[in-house]
Symmetry: C2
């Protein structure tokens, strides 16, 4: 049987330990190709590069795995993978991560890791973004690895029914404390932000984004609820942002005339 | 009665003619504050700046309107507006655009203009992104201006029921040819992409993104269908990406054990 073709990317960059951890699990399930940014791209969301050229270079970072670094965003990586490196070969699965830090709740919107997976999903490829609720560079990615392996195996076999994208978040816990997996909806949350105001060495004022994430959702079926209780959360996700419940209520705007 | 506070931003930058056109309409409806990027930020999606400081400067670009340029992304502009410039005053409405180029269908995901409006919507502010289906710098923004004014007036009065965000796209037509407004869902579409491959002056290969947009949606209730027939499309939009139809079908993944 032909090996499955698995594209792996991330937003923390080609040298991130989380990417290395994901590649080592992914290669048990098929032929892996890695195309990842050459610098950290956290918070890049669904950004694409349109006003300047992109570069890709083959790099020898992973044992026995073909890998490329790219000068663009995570979404650029997926576009270049499809159109240039793999020249429109069928990709069986796209994996993104393992992200250093949670992408639960609305963080799916800010995350380059999740946007890369979403880009592949828009193109028809089943895609999974994995994130660990630990921002540190040397986070322990081993605790969730047997779950990640089982999720990959199941999705390669069954696909993702009625969707093309999974947002998988893993709590920061030792393996013995992870209780299992919950299928969830995206929690309603928001960032309570502050900008640190300071003066630079040239005497100019600057602002630096900082903030705390707030869970505003009382539901027991959310990703944040599951993570708080020691479960891995999986939110099946899409790219249709239509607020269907608003359509009927807005028909009065069709009465506006010239 | 206290004047409504209206925040205006965009992704084409503080000097874009589309922003000027939107400010001139918006100021008929309240007190306008402009905070826009100091350089073009098309295709920035929901990117935020976390690894470097941001700068804002007051600028005298619009007659009688307080305006600031910001070194960050469109979403950064909205965050700085709320937290620094307006210091958590209640914003009655956020307007973004008028974008030079369509943001219909899945382009809501790539667009900095729509992501800025979405950021304000996540924060609880009713928000509208306006885009004209014309990428040129000197596009004619006057044809849709009476519709834009009426939409702003109506939303200030009634709010956006069951949502907080409208994606408004205006066809490239003279005013006499615009047929009216349609409330729509987001069309399923995709970019058929190519990368132009070339060699730079230092003999290094580079790739430059290019492509054509394809409407893959046969529906007659979509934004692309309405725009093609001479209507302004309005898609009420949200930020919950959960694919609810997948949740039940994925419960088998909860059986994965350590």
């Amino acid at each position: 049987m032909k090996k499955k073709l698995i594209l792996v990317t991330n937003d923390d960059g080609i040298f991130a330990p989380g990417l290395k951890a994901l590649v080592s699990v992914a290669k048990k399930h098929g032929k892996v190709i890695v195309i990842a940014p050459n610098s950290p791209q956290s918070g890049m969301g669904h950004a694409i590069t349109i006003n300047k050229p992109l570069r890709i270079h083959k790099v020898d970072v992973f044992k026995d795995v073909e890998a490329y670094e790219c000068s663009g965003t995570p979404v650029d990586c997926v576009k270049l993978a499809k159109n240039v490196v793999l020249k429109n070969q069928k990709i069986d699965l796209c994996l993104s991560g393992i992200n250093h830090g949670s992408n639960a709740s609305i963080n799916i919107l800010y995350s380059g890791t999740m946007s890369a997976a979403m880009e592949a999903a828009i193109e028809g490829t089943p895609s999974i973004g994995f994130s660990l609720s630990d921002f540190s560079f040397n986070a322990d990615f081993s605790a969730g690895s047997s779950f990640i392996s089982s999720i990959i195996k199941n999705i390669l076999k069954h696909g993702i029914p009625n969707s093309n994208l999974l947002n998988v978040n893993i709590p920061k816990l030792p393996k013995s404390k992870i209780k299992g997996i919950k299928i969830c909806r995206q929690a309603e949350g928001s960032w309570v932000e502050e900008f640190k105001e300071a003066i630079d060495p040239r005497n100019e004022k600057y602002y630096w984004l900082t903030g705390k994430f707030a869970n505003n959702d009382p539901g027991k079926d959310t990703d944040l609820y599951a993570l708080d209780r020691g479960y891995i959360s999986i939110v099946p996700s899409g790219h249709d942002l239509t607020a269907y419940k608003s359509i009927e209520a807005l028909h009065f705007l069709e009465n506006i005339k010239k």
